[in-house]
């Protein structure tokens, strides 16, 4: 993920600089040689860019970014800040089960947001659950974008039969909603691994299922850009001096497609998180022993009628906020990077 963010910064960077600030490039050439000054000018260009301006001019987007950073930060730091360890079965006591939040009658200040049916602290479980949800989301987006990027580049650059086959597969897959594909891959993987327990197997299955159901969009976009780029002079020149097709694809054409890919990836992240939560809610995702947000909601849903609303409400709220914030960021990024809307 870090790689693609950095790559995107360089994608936006040069264009912004050359377009907006001609003085900057002369300043840069005069101070050529020292890396530090180049870096500073890059920072200055970023601070001066349209991207930052459009970011700060929408309060909603800033709020969404803050919420995302807060949730992601809390999830990453979960082992440090969580009051309890939800994976440590020894520390659980059934006597503490179904405790309401601390401010309700019968609440325990030790369990701020109450406990679930196993006596697990809801707050800690949410922190660790968000961690799992985010990890699966990031990894599956990474898988989907890597797969879509490679296949799209290959189809667009080589063309011919390869192109037809890859795009046909994409068309067939696009006939179905992604959630159905994910469910199917998940179901088949479960059926195959029925009698074996693999360490971390559930995690990999989910990443595989979600990643494989979202690659089509990347492949189509990347192919489209590649079709245009491959006929340009710089590619022809590279071919003439004998550079191999792999190197041309990944070193020469790839930087030109990273922008749209980043936008799709951001929007897909929210979708991937929701898909993981949905699969877990349907009972084919992460098991209740290592819950994600979806699993927590599934478990809590069973106790909705017995009045234990906190088991669903807090994980549900976290998921809703996370999905909404990432969605808003993705929408904004799409509009901000779309030159047609400027």
């Amino acid at each position: 993920m870090c790689g693609s963010i950095r790559a995107s910064a360089s994608w936006v960077g040069p264009r912004e600089r050359s377009m907006r600030d001609p003085a900057d490039s002369t300043a840069r050439s005069s101070a050529a040689g020292t890396i530090a000054s180049a870096r500073r000018s890059r920072l200055a260009a970023f601070l001066d860019s349209d991207l930052l301006h459009s970011f700060l001019s929408s309060r909603l987007v800033v709020l969404a970014a803050l919420v995302s950073v807060l949730i992601v930060g809390a999830a990453v730091l979960a082992p440090l800040i969580a009051p309890h360890d939800p994976y440590d079965l020894k520390s659980l006591s059934l006597l503490d089960a179904n405790t309401p939040p601390a401010w309700e009658q019968g609440g325990d200040p030790n369990y701020l947001l109450g406990t679930d049916d196993q006596g697990r602290d809801i707050l800690s479980t949410i922190l660790f659950g968000t961690r799992s949800s985010l990890a699966i989301g990031f990894c599956s987006v990474l898988l989907a974008s890597a797969l879509g990027l490679s296949l799209g580049l290959w189809a667009g650059y080589v063309g011919g039969r390869v192109d037809t086959i890859i795009m046909r597969i994409a068309d067939v897959q696009l006939t179905f909603p992604a959630i159905l594909t994910a469910l199917l891959i998940d179901g088949v993987a479960l059926a195959i691994l029925r009698h074996h327990t693999v360490e971390g197997g559930k995690f990999s299955i989910l990443v595989l299922a979600i990643g494989l159901s979202f690659w089509v969009q990347y492949a189509r976009t990347v192919r489209g850009v590649t079709l245009v780029e491959r006929n340009k002079e710089y590619v022809e020149a590279a071919r003439l001096i004998g550079i191999g097709p792999l190197k041309i694809m990944f070193q020469h054409i790839l930087p030109n497609v990273l922008g749209p890919v980043l936008v799709i990836a951001t929007i897909n992240l929210a979708l991937a998180i929701i898909t993981e939560a949905t699969l877990s809610f349907l009972g084919v995702g992460l098991p209740p022993t290592e819950p994600s947000l979806g699993t927590m909601i599934q478990v809590g849903n069973k106790y909705l009628f017995s009045g234990s609303w906190w088991m669903v409400a807090f994980p549900g709220l976290t998921l809703a906020l996370l999905a909404l914030a990432v969605n808003l960021l993705g929408d904004w990024l799409r509009d901000a990077l779309n030159p047609k809307l400027r």
Partner: protein, 325 residues
């Protein structure tokens, strides 16, 4: 038109055969079908005999051909879990899902179009902003959360609507309908809203952006200049021209509605095909999974095909563009 239809038909057939191949591979190679059918204590001779009887020793292409022929006759074998013919299970479940999907689509259109028109005409009114905020939330929230929220409000808190099942059903031929009883209709409300909310927001946003586009065109300005009443302009001239893309999207979304019914049916324990599929996935019931996959693929391909034809019929521009040069 005919050439277009035939080309589309070939594409649809290609999709169906691909999906059938996937379903066959899963069906044949994930787990041993024999082990799933006979018990632990069956002898090796019994197993070999059954293997021969089921034709599992034939060459793979022959088996695939047989699978295709059987599928075309709606014969998908016996469910591993329920020990009944898959076709019988699906026939029992199909009406529930179709009624739910159609109710959801109706909800989406009946609310989405007026909301879209309103927000398109009155861009800056506060009611428009509320509609758009609601639609943003509808797009962002996972379906199952919306369902749980509705259950909490209307079943747990207010206690006015049932939280699971279809209510009383009336049997007409093989079709069990919940549309003819009061309890059946009551049970339909929340699942239909949950399932249709995403499509409703989609329709709202689509109609809104189309309206904004159309209202800027010259013929609308001209209609205004002629002194036509606002009402006639908005509905007679503008809305009519936004409906072509709306029809397409609704048609294409009908397939998505049937797929997303899996989630809604799980939340509300609605006894339809989606719930059946989820139970099949949990129990590794491969014949049911394969049958569901093929059926849904068929529905999708069929809907796509019809929408394509309708689109060409309605919009003459495509007929000209689509003509091979």
């Amino acid at each position: 038109m005919l050439a277009f239809a035939i080309r589309r038909l070939f594409e649809a057939a290609f999709v169906m055969v691909t999906v059938a191949l996937i379903a066959f591979v899963v069906f044949r190679f994930v787990g041993d079908p024999i082990n799933q059918i006979v018990g632990q204590d069956a002898t090796i001779e019994d197993r070999l005999k059954l293997r021969e009887e089921l034709g599992l020793n034939d060459p793979i292409p022959v088996q695939f051909a047989r699978f295709l022929v059987n599928a075309a006759r709606f014969d998908f074998g016996i469910s591993y879990q329920m020990k009944q013919p898959v076709t019988a299970i699906i026939a029992e479940r199909f009406p529930a899902t179709l009624e739910l999907a159609l109710a959801a689509a109706l909800f989406a259109v009946a609310l989405g179009i007026p909301m879209g028109v309103y927000t398109g005409i009155h861009r800056d009114r506060w009611l428009s902003k509320i509609f758009l905020t609601v639609s943003l939330i509808g797009v962002s929230l996972p379906t199952f959360l919306i369902g749980i929220l509705l259950i909490y409000i209307f079943s747990v808190w207010l206690g006015v609507l049932p939280s699971f099942g279809r209510g009383e059903v009336v049997k007409i031929g093989f079709w069990r309908t919940g549309l003819l009883t009061a309890s059946g209709l009551k049970a339909l409300i929340m699942p239909a809203i949950t399932l249709g909310l995403f499509q409703m927001t989609l329709v709202t946003r689509l109609v809104r952006s189309e309206m904004l586009e159309v209202l800027r065109t010259d013929y609308i300005k001209f209609a205004r200049a002629r002194g036509l009443p606002e009402r006639a302009i908005n509905f007679g001239h503008a809305l009519k021209n936004t409906l072509v893309p709306v029809i397409t999207v609704i048609g294409l979304q009908l397939g998505a509605v049937i797929a997303f019914a899996i989630i809604t049916e799980t939340v509300f324990q609605w006894p339809g095909m989606g719930l059946m599929f989820i139970q099949a996935v949990q129990n590794a019931d491969i014949p049911v999974m394969a049958a569901y996959l093929l059926l849904v693929a068929f529905l999708f391909v069929f809907i796509n095909f019809v929408v394509d034809l309708v689109y060409v019929r309605v919009d003459p521009r495509i007929r000209i563009l689509g003509r091979p040069t």
